[in-house]
Amino acid sequence: MGKKRRKWKEHLVSSMEIPRDLAYRESIIRITGRKQLTIENYKGIQIFSSQQTVVTLNQGKVKILGKDLEIQFYMENEMTVTGFISQVIFEI
């Protein structure tokens, strides 16, 4: 995608107030306290253990570190990780 075309798209998205998750398929990450994390629009799980979970997003990855991690729900578009979350790291 050319630079001009990208800029034009950005303008269109911001002027029409289209949510970025719909326009760019960006992921939504919602953290509730330190015990629950919900991710929408992800690609898949790369690593999963009780200490860390690496989830592949459409742009990069997110690493969730913690203790006693488990996946509450694992669906096509949404997943919920519970446990004691200590860090959330974004990686390219």
Binding site: G44, I45, I47, F48, E70, I71, Q72, F73, Y74, E76
Partner: protein
């Protein structure tokens, strides 16, 4: 909660996954729309929950990822039925229970009367029983429109009736005529005048129909004519050519003085509960009651309090069973004497109740000249009240001959 019930209905299993690539297994499941939940690592293996329907779709995923799965635990109705397939009596029992519930729901188990004030619930229920509308009657025999019509016919002071069947509950809502004499349609038609029933000064007068004979500020006695129900129709020479008769309608407020007298003895007997009580349970089916313990009198002087609880299946589904407790409480009669302060307080309370009753009737209180006195054995409250009250009652109009012109 609903989700869990649905899950239980469809059945679900807890599986243990032994796989060289568990993440791939999860990703493949999500691509195929297989919902996994409660995924947690358990040593070298992983444990997760899956619905029974999705469990049978796992085979190709397992093949692709070279995984093996073990069922650890099973929940839900499909497993329950499978486990208990030999217990025929149990299922027959469940079936009979549902059949009984459905059968019992075909009858009316509660008749609720609302909105009645002058006519008691017992009176209305007794009338309905005479007309074969009683507890336990099949619902199909209930005709709500007919019940409404019958009640209206039997109780003329009931102006509006609504009978409604909801579940096993027959709800009868009624509206009564608060002033039966004045709004009786037959009497309304007849020409009438308004005559004073009080002695006092007229404060306010609004005449809607009829010829007013007095005005605000006038003094009137009992029996004085306030509004005449005859209108004199005159010609240009001011001669009466005919009379028109109307039903007088007016709001007349009269200020008058009424007296108040209340007296009560200072010493009286009071029931004092000793705290000794014996309770026994009971269970009732229809009108048959089974009581536990002895039915004889437990104490020389006793009060019996019965607490009954109906068994409900739903909010409106009342079963014909009830249970509760019968408590026999011992009491002794004690002679108590009011102190002067207590007596005054009680007299004041009585006055307050009287005044509130007057206010409820729409009477306005202008002046209160009541005095409370105690004389050793009696407490007396007496005096006068100046009140503004709606006055007047209807009397038929005397018809007159049309004068010759």
């Amino acid at each position: 909660m609903i989700e869990k019930l649905l899950q239980y209905k469809n059945g679900y299993v807890k599986i243990r996954l032994i796989s060289p690539k568990p993440e791939r297994f999860l990703n493949l499941c999500s691509r195929q729309g297989i919902l996994l939940s409660q995924i947690r690592p358990a040593g070298e293996t992983w444990e997760m929950q899956i619905s029974l329907k999705d469990f049978f779709r796992l085979k190709p995923v397992c093949k692709k990822t070279h995984s093996r799965i073990h069922v650890v635990k099973r929940w839900g109705l499909p497993f329950f039925f499978y486990r208990n397939k030999k217990r025929k009596a149990f299922f027959i029992g469940i079936f009979l229970c549902f059949a009984l519930v459905i059968f019992l729901s075909q009858f009316v188990w509660r008749i609720q009367v609302e909105g009645n004030y002058y006519n008691t619930t017992q009176e209305i229920l007794k009338f309905l029983e005479e007309k074969d509308v009683r507890h336990g009657i099949p619902k199909k025999e209930i005709n709500c429109a007919l019940i409404s019509a019958m009640i209206r016919e039997q109780f003329p002071d009931i102006t509006w009736v609504s009978a409604r069947l909801s579940g096993t509950n027959l709800s009868i809502t009624i509206q009564e005529n608060e002033n039966p004499a004045s709004s009786d349609s037959g009497q309304e038609e007849a020409p009438s005048s308004i005559v004073s029933n009080l002695e006092g000064t007229i404060v306010k007068m609004i005449t809607r129909q009829g010829a007013p004979q007095v005005q605000a500020g006038d003094f009137c006695e009992k029996g004085d004519l306030l509004v005449l129900g005859r209108l004199d129709i005159k010609n240009d020479s001011q001669e009466v050519i005919r009379y028109d008769y109307v039903t007088s309608d007016a709001d007349i407020y009269i200020r008058h003085t009424c007296s108040y007298y209340d007296s009560f003895p200072l010493s009286y007997e009071k029931k004092s509960f000793t705290g000794n009580e014996k309770s026994r349970p009971f269970f009732q089916i229809f009108s048959l009651r089974a009581e536990g313990g002895s039915r004889k009198k437990q104490y020389e002087k006793e009060d019996t309090v019965t607490q009954t609880r109906n068994l409900y299946l739903t909010e409106n589904f009342v079963l014909p069973f009830s249970y509760g407790t019968i408590v026999q409480k011992e009491y002794v009669m004690e002679k108590v004497t009011y102190t002067e302060e207590e007596a005054r307080k009680k007299a004041q309370e009585n006055i307050q109740i009287y005044l509130e009753k007057l206010l409820d009737k729409g009477v306005e209180i202008c002046q209160n000249n009541i005095e409370i006195q105690t004389d050793g054995s009696f407490c007396t409250a007496k005096g006068t009240l100046q009140v503004i009250e709606k006055a007047g009652y209807s009397v038929p109009v005397e018809k007159m001959e049309i004068p010759d012109t």
